[in-house]
Amino acid sequence: MNRNLLRFMLGRVVGLVLVLLATSFVVFSAVHLAPGDPVTFLMRGRPITPAAREAITAQYHLDEPFLKQYWMWLTDVLQGDFGRSVQFRQDIGDLVMQKLPLTGFLVGYAMVLILVVGMTLGVVSALRPGFVDKLVLGWTGFSIAIPSYLAGTMLASVFVVKLGWFPGFGGGEGFTDRLWHLTLPAIALALTFAGLLARVTRSAMLDELSREHVEVARSRGVPEGQVIRRHVLRNALGPIVTVIGTMVASLLVATAIVEQTFSIKGIGSMLIGAVTAKDFPVVQALTLLVVAVFLVVNLIVDLLQPLIDPRVTLGGDKR
């Protein structure tokens, strides 16, 4: 069992590294294949002397062959050096570290909302067929369909402009202030995902509700609340956890739009800024970050599955 776990982990880590390598190559080439000359962007259209152009070209190794450039970048990255932002002339690692807490807070906040609202709605609609179920289905359909930029704009126009209950921009200082500042962005971010989670929770619950062992538990005089907790919700956790896992990375990407809407200086707006300014080292670093988060979260989800369902064995080997 432990040997299996070890082999499984080893395999997954090797896979993770390979995927990261492949992704880094794709990202690196994509940025380089995009039209436009980085140096021109760097100078923001200002005239430039041939000598200065040459200096910049040399500084970013733009004169080297493509594969060599990639190799140089990769060896730096492997040593933890993501290079310098062209835009801000700052170390990218430092930049990310500065902005990560704010975006992390936003994503965490949104995640809490998604879990609480999504699972509650899902459970309620599974347990109350009829009117309540239809109401929840209607609402989740609506919230899934609403894109986060639209939700953000609508929320801002009502609660910031009309009512003035929440600040319209910035990330705030200190925990309470930050909570206050990030409430609307977190709601905008959570809407779609909470709707999705509610749907998944509902169908997983309905699936489990129809199982005979649930009836058996009832037939033994186990109180209904306990039946729901220990036999229905408990058994429905598999799909729920899987979906939550895929949401984490998507949330990180979705912050790009929401942070832009609410002028929050986090990773998301940094990504958008970097793309528009063709700040390619930053784009590369952030893309890799998202991919890495996705892979790590999925690894965690896979490790959780056997704890949820003992019939699942890691690596899917024979029993």
Binding site: R211, A217, R218, R220, Q226, N235, D309, R311
Partner: protein
């Protein structure tokens, strides 16, 4: 309690009491049977079923008695069995009474129902794989029933171990730590039976407890059930489609067809001399080992579906002896001595 609250129910007519709800205190039946179902009718909304799932069925089980409930799939035997625990579809409407020790289950509130399920009536379901939550340990499954009765965790574990030993599980302590998928079907059904015994039930409902098992395991499981029943003096309602099995272990047998009881007799008599053409058909369709036996003859046609509501006898379309009046008039269940049969031609000697 409440010996005669309703008028017709208690008419102890020995001869030709034509009420479907005849209690007909059978041989060995005490004044008040352990389980007494009278005139139980269960309807689903018209969109789901054209005829009642159960149509005025009556049966009783005495203390320590084993009673068989036999019929094809869809005859309503499982629903009848579940109704004793108050496990009915949400949309079902019921009439009649299901009395356990004199208390009508259909009239119980949530608390009363829980109390009855914990302490008086237990059920063993068909498929042990489906009956036990696959994600929790066997120990959790067994102790759950004990914990809801107020036992401490340690006491519950000790008792669970004892119960596993009683149903013949080797290394009961280790078994408590295992997950259901680590057991074979037969072993898991023993666990389920052990779980059913947690509340020292007076009445055990067994809904095809051996159908999902292979033949050798079937015999073992039946043996365990019988042994435990004898030791604890439990009354048992044994639901099965296997008439021979029922005849082997039951004192009395009820035969169901399309939501009605069509015949009931002491097991040996039913087997030797069926009175209803359907029972005879069931017996003739069972393969025999005896070399002189005739080859099995299946009953022609198919069971009545829930979408059909035939007038008259529901079995008429499949019956070799059916006459015009069988299709016009529903036969009442007529009781003569220990025999009840619902067939208009039962007294005409149509069956050998």
């Amino acid at each position: 309690m409440a010996e005669t609250t309703t008028s017709t129910d208690m008419s102890k007519g020995k001869n030709k009491s034509t009420a479907a709800s005849s209690p007909a205190a059978g041989p060995g039946g005490s004044a008040e049977p352990l389980l007494d179902i009278q005139g139980l009718t269960l309807r689903l909304p018209a969109s789901a079923a054209a005829r009642p799932i159960l149509d005025g069925i009556g049966l009783h089980v005495g203390r320590g008695e084993t009673v068989g409930l036999v019929g094809e799939s869809g005859s309503g035997k499982s629903v009848a069995c579940r109704s004793v625990l108050g496990l009915l579809p949400r949309t079902a409407e019921t009439e009649g009474a299901v009395r356990v020790n004199g208390t009508d289950v259909l009239g119980l509130d949530k608390q009363g129902l829980r109390d009855m399920r914990r302490n008086k009536v237990a059920m063993v379901f068909q498929d042990p794989r489906a009956s036990v939550n696959p994600m929790r340990r066997v120990g959790a499954f067994l102790t759950e029933g004990l914990r809801v009765r107020g036992l401490s965790k340690a006491d519950a574990l000790a008792r669970a171990e004892q119960l596993l030993e009683e149903v013949g599980i080797r290394d009961p302590k280790g078994a408590l730590r295992k997950f259901p998928h680590q057991f074979s079907g037969g072993m898991l059904q023993r666990v389920v039976i052990a779980a059913a015994l947690t509340g020292d039930p007076e009445l055990l409902l067994a809904d095809e407890p051996t159908t999902a098992l292979d033949v050798t395991t079937q015999a073992e499981v039946v043996g365990i059930l019988q042994r435990l029943q004898a030791r604890h003096g439990t009354g048992m309602l044994f639901v099965t489609h296997d008439l021979e099995l029922a005849a082997a272990i039951c004192d009395r047998i009820y035969v169901m067809y399309a939501g009605r009881i069509v015949e009931s007799q002491p097991a040996a008599d039913l087997f030797a001399r069926p009175r209803h053409p359907y029972t005879a058909g069931l017996l003739a369709s069972t393969p025999r080992l005896d070399p002189d036996a005739e080859p099995p003859k299946p009953i022609p046609g198919r069971p009545v579906s829930l979408a059909e509501a035939p007038t008259g006898c529901a079995f008429a379309d499949r019956c070799a002896f059916a006459e015009d009046r069988c299709r016009a008039e529903a036969p009442p269940l007529v009781t003569q001595g220990a025999v009840s049969v619902a067939c208009l031609r039962a007294d005409e000697g149509i069956l050998p």
